[in-house]
Structure formats: C-alpha cells, structure tokens
C-alpha cells in the first residue's frame, strides 16, 4: 500500500524467486568469487552470459535491473578512469600520449583500455548478479531466514543465532511502520508551524526534537505491545521451535548449484588454457 519498498524486492513468480534462500546466499558467494576469478575476454563473456540468463529467468524488468547500477555509477566511472590512465606496463602501446613525468610515460594505452573495460564489466556483473540474487528475488525475511539457517550450527557453541534472526526480522518488519509514524508525526508538527528547512544547523537539529521524542515514545510502545503479544502466544527461543514455512531443498536448487560450480570451474580453466589472451591484473 505504501511506497516503502524495503530491499527493493520485486514480486514475481520465477525460478530464481523460488530458489531456496540458503542456496541463493551460498550461490551469491560463489558468484562473487567467480567474478573476481575472471581474467580474460572469454571468461568475461561467460560471466555476462550467466548474468544475462539470470536476468531473463528472474523476470525482473530490465529498467529495474539497470536502476541497481545507478547507485554505483560514481564507483564505476572512478574505476574506469583509474585503470585507463594508471595502467603501468612496460612496452605499452600508446594511442594518445600525454607526456612524461618522473621518467614514466602517461597516456591512453591499448592495455589500459582493455583493463578498464574489464574492470567496468566486472563491477556491472557483480552488482547486477548480487542484487538479482539477494534483493530483487529474495525478501528481507527470506534473507534473514536463510542466514539464520546457514549459521544454525553456531547454536552448538551457544551463540543465539535464532534470537538474532528474530530481532532482525522484527526490525525489518517495523521499518515501514516506523517510517509511516515518522511521516505522520512530521505532518502533525508541520501543522503546528515547525519549520524544518530554515535556519542554521543548530536550529534544524532543534526542529527534530518534536519529531524524535514522539517517535521514540511510539516505538517503545509498539515494542512493548509486540513483546506482550508474543508472550501471550508462548514465544520462546531454542532448538525445539518449529517453523511455519520449512525451507525445502529442491532439484532446481541442486541444478543451479551445479551451474555455478561449472561457471567457476569454467572461468578457472579458461584462465589456464587461454593465458595468452592479454589481461593485466589490477594494480
């Protein structure tokens, strides 16, 4: 109903959405490792193919996928420029020469161009792949569930993983509620003539007091009410708690797992067998 889309989950019914969250978290780690292993044009092609297939399968619209890159535009441009101008190799082929400095030639080189291109591709694949797997196709609650499941063995050494997971889920659940509260309180104080935009820093900070105090009060009240409600339904933590939606490992999860292992292995093999294709390790 409200405009808050936490973690920007995109609701759709796709294979990727249905994958087991535990699997997806491990897959993401494998995927990140793979992107960093990719070292030449062929392995990048493989990586791009994989990301493209993932995007298609997930049914997330392209515009939304591209939007995930908006936040890292600066990083991408910065990485591209650094690699373009600071690639430092003997006998580089210069396209444009800027001049010498400290006995070194600076300019745009073929090698620099290739490396900068690879770097950009790597960041793009990394961002698109991870946002698709972790945020667009997985709700924050699923993510918490997955993580707590994966960390479950830590319970053996008395780390209360399930409590942390519960705290995390509750926090996630209440972010939209709190932001609604904040908006409502802000509107109420604006109606009484608070001015948030005028004045110096101190005046602006003081203008926040009428918002923060009611917000704290209502959060504590909500927390208390929730605690009572949970206790009334006999909430307790521990090993004997069952869950409503039991995570199940399906054939499709195994298939995707194998696919990613294949991707990683493929990239490593390509790196070994096509070592003659030029690539220059990053700085």
């Amino acid at each position: 109903m409200k405009s808050i889309s936490l973690g920007r989950y995109y609701a759709a019914d796709s294979v990727i959405h249905r994958l087991d969250p535990r699997g997806k978290i491990v897959l993401t780690i494998l995927f990140i490792v793979s992107t960093f292993l990719a070292k030449n044009v062929i392995s990048f092609a493989l990586l791009i193919l994989f990301v493209a297939a993932l995007s298609l399968l997930s049914r997330v619209p392209l515009s939304l996928i591209l939007r995930s890159l908006r936040g890292v535009t600066v990083v991408i441009i910065f990485a591209a420029l650094i690699n373009l101008f600071l690639t430092n190799i003997d006998q580089a082929t210069f396209l444009v020469e800027f001049g010498e400095w400290n006995g070194r030639m600076y300019g745009i080189t073929v090698e620099g161009l290739i490396r900068s291109g690879c770097m950009v591709l790597r960041i793009i694949c990394l961002i698109i792949g991870t946002t698709l797997l972790l945020t667009y196709t997985m709700t924050p609650i699923e993510l918490t569930d997955g993580i707590s499941n994966l960390l479950h063995p830590l319970m053996k050494i008395h780390i209360p993983v399930d409590l942390f997971a519960m705290m995390m889920s509750i926090a996630l659940r209440f972010i939209p509620t709190l932001s609604e509260d904040a908006e409502r309180i802000m509107n109420a104080q604006k109606s009484r003539g608070t001015n948030f935009s005028d004045g110096g820093l101190i005046r602006k900070a003081r203008a926040l007091i009428p918002i923060l105090i009611p917000l704290f009060v209502s959060s504590f009240k909500r927390g208390e009410e929730l605690a009572v409600a949970m206790e009334c339904r006999c909430y307790h933590s521990g090993d004997d708690r069952t869950r409503m939606e039991v995570l199940k490992w399906h054939v499709r999860d195994t298939l995707f797992f194998l696919l990613l292992i294949a991707l990683g292995a493929g990239i490593v093999l390509i790196n070994i067998f096509f070592a003659w294709i030029p690539y220059f390790t990053v700085l």
């Binding site: 409502r184 009484r192 003539g193 608070t194 105090i213 009060v217 209502s218």
Partner: protein, 319 residues
C-alpha cells in the same frame, strides 16, 4: 461566502512510480464560512488526503485550493499576470515592479501563516505530544507563530478551559495523562493557534462515549467563541447529525454527495450504495413509519426522535 474552496482538485500519491495511487479525483467543494461541515466516507475514500490539502501539507496534483478566494499555491508570476490584466481592463496604470513586490510579500505571508490559519488536528493527535509538560506542548504552536509570552499564557488558559483541562493537568507530563486527556491536550495545542478554519480528522476515534461527547462539546465551544469554520471527519452518523450543519460524503476519491444533514440522510438508499448508513435512530423511525405509526420524516437525532414520539403519544392519547 465560501471560506475554503477546492476546485477540480486531484491528488496522486507517488506519481510516476509503480506505487502511484490516485487518492482524489476532480473534487470540487466549498466550505461555507462559520459552518460546521462533517465529512464521511469509507476508509481509503480520501478524507485524510483532502484535509491535508487544506493547510498546505500536500499540494494538489491538479486543481486549486482557495482560502478566502486566494489560491494557496499560486505563483507570484501567475498572480502578477492576473492582477496586471485586471488593472489593464479597468484602465489603471500601475508599476509592475511595485506590484510584483507586493504580491511576493503577500504570498510569502500566506504560505507562512497558512498552517496557523487552517488548524489541522490529525488522526490520533496524541502522537504529536512531546514536551515536558502539557502547558509547554500547547504553547508549541503559538510560539512558532511568534506570539508574546503574555498572549501565549492567555491563550493556554482559554483553550484549557475549552477542552476541560485543569491547572493540575497542565503541569503534568503529557505522557502521564489518560487517553482521552491526551487527545484533549493535543487538540488544545491546535486550538491555541486560534485558526480561522479548524479541521479535525476523526477527533473522537477510539474514545469512550463520554470522551466523544466532551471532544465534540469542546469543538462546538471553540466555534462559538471564535466563529471559526469547522470541518470534522467522522465515521459516526449520529455525531454528524448531532453536531454538523452540512455533510460531505466521499466515495473512492470523489465527492459522492453534499448538502445539509437533512438532504443527505434523507437519501438513505443512495448512502447505502456506498456502504454507509443513516443514523440508527432514523432507521428506527423508518421502521415505525412503515408499520403504520404516523411520525414525521427526517429525524436524525435521538433528541428529535424522543420529542416526536412523545408528541405522537400525547396526540394519540395512548398514555
């Protein structure tokens, strides 16, 4: 004359995103000066959105909101063009620069004072309490208006009387009050700004019957003292019939009906189409009428019903 007027107002939340939702569509209404207007409608019919447009919290996506005939969001340029045209038609010659300056100060002043002139009491206003004492909290609005200390104290005393808070309550922390007292303290905070138009979003929601009555009594008393224009959103048809002169019925973001209480409640069939109801006592009278007892139509309050039935009994000589 219409104190407040909406002209073809539309409002869309989050326009241009996948979450966009149309809250109001082509709403044109005018609220008469000094009248008490009740606004009814289902949850989600756009009542709260409408109220927030009136004091400038929200800006209409389309259409205008006019206070005393002045569009509250009019730009300096638009108003200047309008005034120049008017002057020309009257054959007057005025300095454009001088006029522009005048208009700018006028519109700035309007924008700054708008929330004091149209006082909005939001739904569950007790959430807005934050000061150490009730007295300080009531003073928050008047302080923002830049009033003097004496004036503020005078106003606090006055509104505390209207909403029925004693000296003892005023010195307490607002968080130590009961639910109904908190509500009254919060309403007092808006009344203390002495708005010309008082707008309340479900002021009695969640209160017990005596709490409801005392809230409505305070509102009526404020109106009597200041002659303000009052708008009240409520779900209770009984309250509407008892306290309001006019009723505006909203349905799915549009104006469904408007008129005097009598006009609106007489069309019970139409009202029921939107899932709303006429006051229960009106139902009772209708039932009595259909079973052959001769009672007048158009009775909406328990008091009217009592006197009508009493006079019917006397005439019939039954007792």
């Amino acid at each position: 004359m219409a104190k407040l007027e909406l002209s073809h107002v539309g409002y869309v939340y989050n326009p241009g995103t996948e979450f966009s939702s149309v809250a109001l569509e082509d709403v044109s209404v005018s609220f008469e000066e000094h009248a008490v207007t009740g606004i009814i409608g289902h949850t989600g019919s756009g009542k709260s959105t409408l109220l927030q447009l009136l004091n400038g919290l929200l800006k209409p996506t389309t259409g205008q909101v006019l206070l005393d005939g002045q569009d509250i969001h009019e730009t300096v340029k638009a108003k200047l063009a309008r005034e120049m045209e008017k002057a020309e038609a009257e054959g007057l010659r005025i300095s454009k620069r001088q006029k522009k300056k005048e208009i700018r100060t006028e519109l700035d002043e309007l924008r700054k004072t708008l929330c004091f002139r149209v006082g909005l009491v939001m739904q569950y206003p007790e959430y807005q309490l934050f000061e150490e004492t009730v007295r300080k909290d009531i003073a928050f609005g008047p302080k923002n208006m830049g009033l003097s200390e004496e004036e503020i104290n005078a106003r606090i005393a006055k509104v505390a009387g209207i909403v029925g808070l004693t000296e003892r309550h005023l010195n307490k922390s607002p968080f130590d009050l009961s639910g109904g007292q908190k509500r009254r303290a919060a309403i007092a905070g808006v009344l203390a700004m002495e708005p010309e138009v008082l707008v309340l979003d479900e002021p009695a929601a969640g209160l017990d019957p005596s709490g409801r009555t005392s809230i409505f009594q305070s509102i009526l008393e404020y109106r009597k003292e200041t002659n303000a224009t009052v708008l009240i959103v409520s779900h209770s048809m009984e309250d509407m019939a008892a306290y309001c002169d006019r009723v505006l019925v909203m349905n799915r973001g549009r104006v469904f009906m408007q008129g005097s209480c009598r006009d609106v409640f007489e069309q019970s069939g139409e009202l029921e189409k939107t899932g709303l109801d006429v006051p229960q006592v009106t139902h009772l009278i209708d039932l009595l009428r259909s079973s052959g007892i001769d009672l007048p139509q158009g009775i909406f309050t328990v008091d009217d019903a009592v006197s009508a039935i009493a006079s019917r009994l006397r005439e019939g000589g039954c007792s």
